[in-house]
Symmetry: C2
Subunit: 155 residues, 2 copies
DNA sequence: ATAGTTTTGTTACACATGTAACCAATTCGG
DNA sequence: CCGAATTGGTTACATGTGTAACAAAACTAT
């Protein structure tokens, strides 16, 4: 096993304290843990589940709307939607007033799957934040919002 | 444009407040912003830069060690290392006491690139956290550590 | 009306990724 | 010792991803 000491005489990045790195690890750990559940039980990928969550949360929507709400690429959304349609979880109907647009909505089956996953996802989140006090949760909320605002602006 | 109101009478997930989702967006926003800089200027991918950061931070190491420190898959590390070796940024020498192991280290060129990127990465991080007070930074640090510990345990 | 532009969504391509299978070196058990 | 299990690392395959090119529909403005 190599030493845990770091180089003192050269510039280096304290990776274990570097915010982008920590955020990335944390986000992956959390997302993957939840994803395992709905991938195993329902065969859904992360983009697929996100599309369903948006439809369940905000009602029928066009692909562009889902892009905005999920921050996912439109290609990713397009493909996720097609897989959901193949699986019978979502259907799509043309918008008569603008035939480029296709309005997606959860099917009865899709709604049923959605309603089964939501509690699982919420329970998972609850477990993860369960070590935080109410005040800490509020503070986390505030800090994440602040960071996101700055990061988006600098993007 | 569809309404911003949500479904009140069915279970739904308030995506915009859902922690895994927010973490994922934030981590991607931040990582991509920094990645653009070292991809554009040095042609490095995120895994490649992470390998270099670990070698610069902790000194020569075997692939397994890098996997542990970065939480990246061993295949990802293997490929990133090979690209770095092709580019002359890293070299590898067999460990005589265990010839399965190959110890990677930054070349002079690799060290030079590393030393150019570190300040850029730190400056980027500084910009992002610059809206936080010292107390908020400390709190963020604490909260992320707490979340990571719980998430890892539940993984 | 109609040419040019914008918007919505899909397809083609190039590339990154993880799982699983694999090879080679080492260690473990008898 | 010697075969079996383990470990370090790479390769093959299937899949996921984003950029760019594209097609179709709808605006815009003469």
């Amino acid at each position: 096993m190599s030493s845990a000491t770091h180089n003192r005489d050269a510039p280096h990045l304290a990776l274990e304290a570097f915010l982008p790195y920590r955020l990335s690890i944390l986000a992956n750990t959390v997302s993957n843990a939840i994803a395992r559940e709905y991938q195993g039980r329902f065969g859904l990928t992360i983009p697929e589940w996100r599309v369903m969550a948006v439809l369940g949360r905000f009602g029928p929507d066009v692909a562009t709307g889902i892009c905005e709400r999920t921050a996912m690429d439109k290609v990713t959304v397009s493909r996720a939607m097609n897989r959901l349609i193949d699986g019978g979880l979502v259907n799509r109907s043309a918008d008569d007033s603008d035939r480029r647009r296709a309005i997606a909505r959860l099917t009865r089956k899709g709604r049923s799957v959605h309603d089964k996953i939501v509690p699982v996802a919420l329970e998972h989140e609850r477990r993860i934040v369960s070590t935080l006090t109410t005040a800490e949760m509020a503070e986390l909320d505030r800090l994440l919002a602040k960071l996101q605002a700055t990061a988006s602006a600098n993007g």
